[in-house]
């Protein structure tokens, strides 16, 4: 990826007077202000430059910021006014046509920066007098947020508009608007900090200073990246809207960087210092205010997309080159407008231009499906096997690869401009979106209807969630979602819930990044310093103890700090290191084959495969898969192969059980679902067995409660309890047991006879009602369990 820059031969502003600020109105229109008091409008489509207005001679503009485009639900196609600060301590609200609507006396000394918040409800200004002031939309002073001895050079709003970040010499300060809230302050640079920016999508902070470095921080003030020192102080930094890229400006220098800090490209244009950089809304072009009176324009080209054997490069603004690596065939794709976003996955290329969306199949590059977009700027394209998701300023739209609109999910308080690939996840049947307002909540939708899934209640976690991902394969009823929370713990849970309390299971710690495989439900991630592949994450719902045996782990120290997983396609994983280099990794192809066999119930083939591979991990996966599918014969073989004798024994014990219901209940017990097992037994009328299950688990209170409730086997419970106490040399302290034990004589012979009778009864019942009611009950229960 690189920047293609263009500079006019003759500057439109008076030469040698520096340009101070630039700002985009639409994707192709820019305003610039200079010390020559002119405000110029640049139209990139017609390449016209006109003077909007000449400011009074005493106004020397310093900073410019356009009023945000959309406020709440109300959409405006373009910005209508902007705020301009000047060296005489005032800020001016100026309309698009250049009319000076209001001038407000704001600071002593120059007003160095002004920023609207994302909703456009408040304005923050900072000045040479060291004050940070908050203003209403109409320019009335709300509060003086902070006051310090040194000038404040730059300011930025936090993503939720509740915090303000500003510079204090060499330090950065994050101050919440609420009084008495904790202020975060840290030393960020060795020199004066000149420029800062805070992205609303990825919540990362950029800072640049006179120590000739630029740095990337998270919102807690932890450093993520620090650049090498440059030759000259860094005078400007700016994020793109989607937070994937940022630009850095310095003397004769323009740099394009990834959000993790490494640099894609460096340009050395003849500009003088670039004092201000503004990205267009679609994030494809930028403008820089140059010290020598020029305005530099640059657009991003040579983005690359890779999938299997295809390599696609955006060679010009409107042209893509597709290279098939296998036969070196090259196709050129021409578009009518500028390409804004593209995505290549699942055998399809989706390209959005400013007006249309093109869908290509990798099988045929000549006939794309084309449809018009409602609003131009697509901010995210997310693909699943059967459909893809587009987001723009207005909403989320799910399209099929034939270009048919499938659904358009909505939830209250939805903000589509802050969504990115970490906060939205799409699978063939489900769409999950992390809520921006409450970071603990994930909204889950049925993809095909666009309606909230199940009872409509969103999934809620105890701490804030950072990243979410849905698995791609398997049955809809077994859809799983994994997410990383603020503490970097990895959790898995089922997407479908039926009133029951959702079970969120932690399967990893210190996970930086993760990805699901595209063809089977294999998960990979980087845990602390280990690269981990969860061959069968569902194991946690079957046999939690088995999980460590189904993992593949590898030392990840070679990936250096903070690597990111880019793809997990087939058995190849692509990881991007912090320095920007891509690393490709291969994992064993066998687990994917195993997944395939199991999903089509080819148990014998699966066992044969495991015997061929002779790998403990494979056997462990097979064991878990077999138990999940209740195929106890295979499970027995698999458990035997990994030496889990106790489990083999239990499986054998289950096999010998007299009735189907009991067997089912004990399989549930095997997976640790005691509650469900008990419910199943009670539903089918096997009261004694339910009591016995509780006795075996030393769950005395529940056993007694059941016995008393159903007026049977109270003496059995008491007898076992007594035996237990005698074995451990303890005395009865439980009041209820004391109460019931008073009038009862324990007679082991009688109890044994009673148990024998119960078992005989069960056997008899199973024989007579092989296909009766109990069968359907069991069946129903299995379904329930599966769904849960």
């Amino acid at each position: 990826m690189r920047l293609k820059t263009s500079l006019l031969k003759e500057p439109k502003h008076i030469l040698s007077l520096r340009i101070n600020c630039v700002g985009w109105t639409t994707a192709d229109e820019l305003y610039s202000c200079s010390d020559d008091h002119h405000i110029m409008k640049w139209n990139l489509l017609t390449s016209e430059t006109v003077q909007v207005v000449r400011l009074p001679d005493d106004i020397y503009p310093i900073d410019l910021h356009w009023f945000p485009r959309s406020i709440g639900g109300k959409k405006q196609s373009h910005a209508e006014s902007f705020v301009l600060t000047s060296s005489d301590g005032k800020f001016h609200l100026i309309s698009k046509s250049g009319r000076l609507e209001k001038s407000v006396e704001a600071h002593g000394g120059a007003v160095l920066a002004a920023r609207w918040n994302y909703e456009g409800t408040a304005l923050v200004t900072v000045g040479e007098d060291g004050q940070v002031k908050i203003w209403s939309k109409s320019g009335m002073l709300r509060s003086t947020l902070a006051q310090q001895g040194t000038p404040v050079y730059s300011v930025a709003w936090g993503p939720d508009s509740e915090k303000v970040l500003y510079t204090a010499g060499k330090q950065l300060v994050i101050k919440p608007l609420q009084p008495n809230a904790k202020v975060l302050q840290w030393k960020a640079h060795d020199g004066l900090i000149l420029k800062i920016d805070w992205n609303s999508v990825n919540d990362l902070i950029l800072s640049a200073g006179e120590d000739c470095k630029y740095k990337v921080w998270d919102s807690y003030g932890r450093i993520l990246f620090s650049s090498q020192p440059h030759e000259y102080p860094i005078t400007s930094v700016a994020w793109t809207m989607d937070g994937e890229l940022f630009a850095v400006g310095s003397f004769h220098t323009l740099r394009l960087c990834d959000k993790t800090g490494w640099s894609y490209a460096l340009e050395k244009p003849n500009t003088g210092s670039i004092f201000n950089i503004a990205w267009s809304i679609d994030g494809t072009q930028l403008a820089g205010a140059c010290g020598n009176g020029h305005v530099i324009f640059a657009h991003v080209v040579e983005q690359r997309w890779e999938w299997k054997n295809f390599e696609i490069t955006l060679i010009k603004r409107r042209t893509m080159e597709v290279r098939n690596v296998i036969n070196d065939a090259v196709d050129l794709l021409e578009f009518r407008d500028r390409v804004i976003k593209a995505s290549l996955n699942y055998g399809h290329l989706v390209v959005s231009t400013s007006l249309q969306c093109y869908v290509f199949s990798t099988k045929n590059w000549n006939t794309p499906t084309i449809f018009d977009l409602k609003e131009g700027t697509v901010s995210l394209i997310l693909q699943a096997e059967r459909h893809f998701l587009l987001t723009d300023g207005g909403g989320l739209y799910l399209y099929s690869y034939e270009g048919r609109l499938i659904s358009s999910p909505k939830f209250p308080g939805m903000r589509t401009d802050v969504l990115n690939a970490q906060t939205v996840s799409l699978s063939n049947d489900t769409l999950a979106i992390k809520d921006k307002a409450d970071g603990k909540v994930i909204y889950i939708f049925e993809a095909l209807s666009g309606k909230p899934l199940g009872d409509g209640k969103p999934l809620t976690h105890t701490t804030e969630i950072v990243e979410i991902a849905l698995d791609q394969k398997g049955l809809t009823s077994e859809r799983k979602i994994v997410f990383i929370d603020k503490n970097r713990d990895l959790h898995i849970t089922s997407v479908k819930r039926f009133g029951k309390e959702q079970k969120i299971v932690k399967i990893g710690t210190m996970v930086h990044t993760l990805a699901w495989n595209d063809t089977s439900n294999i998960l990979c991630g980087i845990q602390d310093t280990r690269f981990t592949v969860w061959y069968y994450p569902n194991t946690v719902y079957v046999d939690k103890d088995l999980l460590p045996k189904t993992l593949y782990e590898k030392d990840a120290s070679e990936f250096s700090k903070n690597p990111q997983i880019v793809h997990f396609v087939g058995n190849q994983i692509t990881i991007r290191r912090a320095d920007g280099s891509l690393i490709h990794l291969n994992i064993s192809p066998y687990p994917a084959i195993l997944h395939e066999y199991v999903s089509s119930s080819k148990w014998e083939d699966a066992v044969r495969l495991c015997r061929f591979v002779k790998d403990q991990t494979m056997w462990a996966c097979l064991a878990a898969m077999a138990v999940a599918s209740k195929d106890m014969a295979t499970a027995e073989i698999a458990y035997a192969s990994i030496g889990e004798i106790d489990k083999v024994q239990f499986i054998n014990f289950i096999k010998d059980l007299p009735s189907k219901e009991s067997r089912m209940a004990h399989i549930l017990l095997f997976s640790g679902n005691t509650q469900e097992a008990e419910t199943l037994l009670l539903q089918t009328g096997l009261i004694y067995q339910a009591i016995q299950v509780n006795i075996n688990l030393y769950n005395w209170d529940r056993a007694l409660e059941l016995a008393v409730k159903h007026k049977t086997h109270v003496d059995t419970v008491l007898a076992y309890r007594q035996k237990f106490l005698e074995d451990f040399n303890k005395k009865e302290t439980n009041k209820r047991f004391l109460q019931y034990a008073e009038g009862l004589e324990v007679d082991w012979n009688k109890i044994k006879a009673k148990i024998e009778m119960e078992i005989a009864k069960e056997r008899e019942r199973a024989a007579t009602a092989a296909t009766g009611t109990s069968h359907s009950v069991v069946f129903k229960h299995i379904c329930n369990c599966k769904k849960a």
Partner: protein, 173 residues
């Protein structure tokens, strides 16, 4: 210069010729005037050839003919002198102009020289800056190359892995 010489030489000649005449006037007026009268009449007599007319003509004169002649000569000489001076002034003026032009040319050449010298100095600096820029670009390319190298290495490793896998697979079969 050649023309100047030719003009000044006869002028000096005449001054030299005239000066003994002047001294003779100053030394004794009566004597010299008588002497002069005698010479003029002699000359006139020689001119006319009749001594009577000669006398009568001399009698009409207000000024002594010798003086008049000298005056006329002086006037003539003065006129010539003034002409010469004007000419001289013109010549000197053109000379001054020429010198001025030369000075101007010299000045501009000097400025040019100073400019060139400064430019030379700044070019060294410019080259340095250019070099710095190119170095930065080279460093950037090097980094990109390093990224590609790492990627290539991992791909090689994958290739090796896959070969091994295939070999093993065939062997096991």
């Amino acid at each position: 210069m050649e023309s100047c010489k030719t003009i000044t030489e006869p002028l000096g000649h005449r001054v030299r010729k005239r000066s003994p005449v002047r001294t003779s006037i100053k030394s004794s007026n009566s004597h010299s005037s008588r002497g002069n009268k005698g010479r003029i009449t002699r000359e006139l007599a020689a001119l006319c050839g009749s001594p009577g007319l000669h006398k009568g003509l001399s009698r009409l004169r207000v000024l002594e003919p010798g003086v008049a002649e000298q005056t006329a000569q002086l006037r003539e000489e003065c006129g010539a002198f003034v002409d010469k001076v004007v000419e001289f002034q013109k010549i000197v003026g053109s000379l001054i102009e020429l010198v001025d032009q030369l000075a101007k040319a010299a000045e501009s050449e000097k400025m040019k020289a100073i400019g060139a010298r400064n430019l030379l100095k700044s070019i060294a600096k410019q080259r340095e800056a250019q070099e710095q820029q190119l170095q930065a670009l080279i460093a950037e390319k090097k980094m990109q190359l390093e990224r590609y190298r790492i990627e290539y290495e991992t791909l090689c490793k994958i290739e090796a892995d896959q070969h091994e896998f295939i070999d093993q697979f065939i062997f096991q079969k």
